[in-house]
């Protein structure tokens, strides 16, 4: 019983220590990428400083308590923190999360286009070669994905007739033609709570192959502008060849970071 009294006496310190360890594990285990745009990681690092400060303060307060006087009360708030810490340590499975995002989501090409045109002024990074779109062939990678795809949706005419290679997962919508799918990626603007899907409509009518939802592909095709339900012609990738690839372990695209 005395041990339990001591645990209760140091309750805030114990919970804050567990919270700090959990944050440290998430930061050093490189798991933050599954939850947060890297542009916001600085706030988690700062949170580690503030939680460390609170942990020290809690130790100071707990050490000053009188074991006999400090009677247990107000369990609920501590229970809520225990539940939180347990959930933070449950981990994340990006494949399951990706499936959850695509389930019941009837994304249209228009909505997809809007997701990307939300980029604003994304500037090319230091390695300018991967942002070069002047040639007839453009390889879209994770690094240049947001910049190039945003540019394609902003000025589609510039890219008409160009050959494009891009990786992504198969996303199907009832609003698309039977032979169409979207070669999609998950986008995290800030955190997983605002994650969404974006990508190109891919016209696979010339390929005698059926594609399964969520399978990962490297597709190669020519970009065309076609009417697909929206008011304006949308960029459509006319599929010429494809390769099945393993799912990306870090499947997210982070706008304003990549």
């Amino acid at each position: 019983m005395k041990l339990l009294r001591y645990i209760y006496m140091f309750r805030e310190f114990i919970l804050l220590s567990l919270l700090f360890i959990t944050l440290e594990r998430l930061v050093n285990g490189r798991q933050l990428y599954s939850f947060l745009n890297p542009g916001y990681h600085v706030f988690v690092n700062l949170a580690m400083v503030t939680v460390f400060f609170l942990t020290g303060a809690a130790l100071f307060i707990s050490a000053g308590r009188d074991l006999e006087v400090d009677t247990p009360q107000g369990y609920f708030r501590y229970f809520v923190f225990i539940v939180l810490i347990a959930l933070l340590n449950t981990g994340s499975d990006s494949t399951t999360f990706s499936s959850h995002l695509t389930e019941g989501n009837t994304l249209t090409p228009d909505a997809s286009m809007n997701s990307f045109s939300a980029a604003g002024d994304i500037k090319p990074g230091p390695d300018s070669d991967i942002y070069n779109t002047s040639g007839d062939f453009i390889e879209i990678t994770k690094e240049n994905y947001y910049f190039i795809v945003n540019d394609i949706y902003s000025a589609p005419g510039k890219y008409e007739g160009k050959r494009i290679s891009v990786d992504g997962f198969v996303y199907k919508s009832k609003k698309l033609k039977k032979c169409d799918f979207i070669i999609a990626r998950l986008i995290i603007f800030c955190c997983a709570a605002d994650a969404g899907i974006g990508g190109f409509i891919t016209d696979a009518s010339g390929i005698n192959e059926s594609f399964i939802k969520d399978e990962w592909l490297r597709v190669d095709g020519v970009l065309r502008l076609e009417k697909r339900g929206g008011e304006k012609p949308a960029p459509v990738l006319k599929l010429e060849s494809f390769k099945r690839i393993p799912a990306d372990k870090e499947p997210y695209i982070y706008p304003a970071y990549n």
Binding site: E12, L23, L26, F35, L36, Y40, F43, V44, L46, A47, T50, V51, F53, L54, A57, A58, F60, I61, G64, R65, D66, F76, R77, Y78, V80, F81, V83, L84, L87, L88, T90, G91, S92, D93, T96, F97, H100, L101, E103, G104, N105, T106, T108, A111, N114, S115, S117, A118, A119, G120, D121, F189, C190, C191, A192, A193, D194, G196, G230, A256
Partner: protein, 321 residues
């Protein structure tokens, strides 16, 4: 499903934890180091002027909704009028440069939406602050009022042992006490004690808010907004409710709003961005640290009504422009 649920919980927690912790620390510093006189000197004496100034405070203090609740709680304890506090609480997450910049980036090529969002933040917070000032009193609004009968100054001997977090005006609180009489060591002890206590009290509601929001995100289908394209005010009301459930940070919600612009007009998108920044599941829970339940319900209703009215006017302005 547990994996998806814990992903949402972790993401929303990581997004807000720094702002919550820095908020409780700032609140504690205000509590111990800022005297009541200072607040009364800073706040403009006129009702309308004071509320108007409060509605623009966010330009200097870019704090999101998670951080502002404990800070405002501390200011109320120091004697900030409740109407001013409510105005600041509503306006700061919307009317600040970070939110303005992210809104501009989300809607590139035009400043209209970003400016209308700021204008909406000022207008809605000003009107509701004024309504609180005219129609309600502290007894109706505050969970614990400063003039409690059993008010007693802090026990300086046991300051560090005080295992209780003070909500605005609570009876144990040292509201009115002259902190200049405390020694520097006592002041530091006060900050430490108050920070931890307030973290667990406010954090409790923060976490409950996260758990509820994550449940919505996990179990409500993503296509819930398909087909909601009816005439005013249905899309506006829908987007207000959607923002409430999603509980996205005010500094990034513009990107989510932009991705839904093929379904909704600018009025409904403004509703999403203005009301969502002012109140959502997470902040509703956190507001319980300060306010009575009945006031929170009325405040939420006021936000919905005034935001929808503003969006109607904003859409008319956009048509003229």
């Amino acid at each position: 499903m547990l994996s998806v649920y814990s992903t949402y919980v972790t993401a929303i927690f990581l997004e807000g934890i720094f702002f919550l912790t820095i908020g409780v620390i700032i609140s504690s510093l205000i509590d111990v180091f800022v005297s009541d006189d200072t607040i009364s000197k800073i706040v403009p004496s006129g009702r309308v002027t004071g509320i108007a100034v409060s509605s623009l405070t966010g330009i200097l203090f870019p704090v999101c909704e998670c951080g502002i609740v404990p800070v405002v709680a501390g200011l109320i304890r120091k004697g900030l009028p409740v109407s001013h506090a409510v105005t600041m609480l509503l306006s700061i997450p919307v009317v600040n440069l970070v939110t303005f910049t992210s809104t501009y980036y989300a809607f590139p090529g035009t400043l209209g939406i970003a400016f209308l969002r700021m204008a909406g933040g000022v207008a809605v917070s000003f009107c509701l602050g004024l309504a609180v000032s005219v129609f309600s009193d502290d007894n109706f609004v505050l969970k614990n009022k400063p003039e409690e009968k059993n008010y007693k100054p802090v026990n300086r001997e046991n300051f560090v042992l005080m295992d209780h977090v003070c909500s605005p005006g609570c009876s144990c609180h040292h509201h009115g006490e002259d902190h200049s009489k405390l020694t520097p060591v006592e002041k530091i002890k006060g900050v430490l004690n108050h920070s931890v206590g307030e973290f667990f009290e406010t954090g409790k509601y923060f976490i409950i808010g996260i758990l509820v929001t994550a449940a919505f995100q996990t179990f409500v289908p993503k296509n819930a907004f398909d087909g909601v394209s009816a005439a005013f005010p249905l899309p506006e009301l829908f987007m207000t409710g959607y923002a409430y459930i999603l509980s996205i940070c005010s500094q990034t919600d513009a990107f989510v709003a932009r991705s839904m612009s093929s379904y909704f007009g600018p009025g409904a998108l403004l509703c999403f961005m203005i009301s969502g920044a002012m109140i959502d599941v997470k902040t509703t829970m956190m507001l319980r640290v300060i306010f009575r339940k009945r006031f929170i319900v009325l405040l939420a209703a006021g936000i919905v009504i005034s935001t929808v009215c503003f969006s109607f006017l904003a859409e008319a302005v956009l048509k003229i422009l």
